[in-house]
């Protein structure tokens, strides 16, 4: 037989094992009350203060943390606002730069086109003037050469009879003027 069941049976059955004896129960209750009173008077207030202080400290920490959180949130918002402003400013600068660059490009293009047109016109005028000058010079040279050639032929071909004819013509012209 199991030893435990034997002990229970020895103590008066199963009920005797679970429930203490009435005197023991009475003394236990008195002792509990005494301890409870002592603790209530001495330990529980101190423990309550410690717990209150701790709760207050925790609450303070939590409030501080909340304040820090709010501050951090404000800082974050401020930062984000600054970033947004900076981004907007950067975009504006970029847009301005694009507009300026476009105007500059258009101006440079216009000036380059105007200058190219002017250079072309000047070159055409120069070419035209040079061509006219060359043609004029050519005409002059051809004329001078022709006259020079004619002069040499005239000087070589003039014989006595022609000289006399020329003198006779001169005399006739003088006479015809009167």
């Amino acid at each position: 037989m199991d030893p435990i069941i034997v002990a229970v049976e020895d103590a008066g059955g199963a009920y005797g094992v679970i429930l203490p004896a009435p005197g023991e129960l009475l003394w236990g209750a008195v002792a509990f009350t005494i301890v409870f009173v002592i603790l209530s008077k001495l330990a529980f207030p101190a423990l309550g203060r410690v717990l209150d202080d701790r709760a207050a400290a925790i609450q303070g920490k939590m409030e501080e943390a909340d304040a820090k959180l709010v501050e951090a949130e404000e800082a974050r918002r401020s930062y984000e606002a600054s970033v947004a402003d900076a981004r907007g400013e950067a975009n504006r600068i970029i847009e301005d730069a694009k507009v300026t660059a476009e105007q500059l490009r258009a101006d440079i293009l216009t000036r380059a086109e105007a200058e190219a047109t002017s250079m072309l016109e000047r070159a055409q005028a120069d070419i035209s003037a040079e061509r006219d000058r060359a043609l004029q010079e050519l005409r002059t040279q051809v004329g001078a050469l022709s006259v020079e050639l004619a002069s040499r032929i005239v000087e070589r071909e003039l014989d006595t009879a022609t000289h006399q004819t020329l003198v006779d013509e001169y005399i006739q012209q003088l006479s015809s003027q009167n």
């Binding site: 005239v154 006595t160 006479s175």
Partner: protein, 177 residues
């Protein structure tokens, strides 16, 4: 161009020529020498070069060419050269000829032709010039190849140019223009 100095030399030469009774000869010879010198650059430069000794320049007067000239002509040339007036030889010769012509009641006319003219043409030309100017002229003829052909006449400040040289020059000017 006649200046006071040129006139003085011309008067002196006319006086010498008259003294020798050779005014017509002297004016002809002096004018011929002046035209020859004017047409010969080398001779002209030698006569007006004051760096050359006068004796060397006077060799022209004693040259074979002028040996046949009248002594009064050679005297006049020597005077002009010695007085450093060679650069005015043409002007002096013209002034002498003008005075000689004036003394005969005529005006000097210098006629430049390319070849010698026969006597009938000279007479016809003189008559034509006198009719054209209305004056009695003392015509001096010069053969000048630069005329090329035809006639160029100079009467005082008037030039009647019918030369081929002038026509060719006109042609050159028109061709060059």
């Amino acid at each position: 161009m006649t200046t006071e100095r040129t006139s003085a030399y011309a008067d002196a030469i006319v006086a010498i020529a008259r003294g020798e009774h050779a005014l017509e000869t002297v004016e002809d010879e002096l004018l011929a020498v002046a035209r020859t010198v004017a047409g010969n650059e080398e001779l002209r430069d030698a006569l007006v070069d004051e760096q050359l000794p006068v004796g060397q320049r006077l060799r022209l007067v004693e040259s074979q060419v002028l040996r046949a000239a009248h002594p009064a002509t050679r005297t006049a040339l020597a005077m002009i050269i010695t007085a450093e007036q060679s650069s005015h030889l043409s002007a002096i010769a013209e002034a002498v000829a003008n005075r000689a012509a004036a003394s005969r009641g005529e005006e000097l006319a210098e006629v430049y032709v390319a070849v010698e003219l026969d006597e009938p043409r000279r007479a016809a030309l003189k008559a034509a010039l006198e009719r054209a100017t209305g004056r009695k002229l003392d015509v001096k003829y010069h053969v000048d190849e630069s005329v090329v052909g035809g006639v160029r006449a100079k009467i005082g400040d008037t030039v009647i140019d019918g030369s081929l040289a002038r026509r060719l020059t006109d042609l050159r000017t028109r061709a060059g223009g």
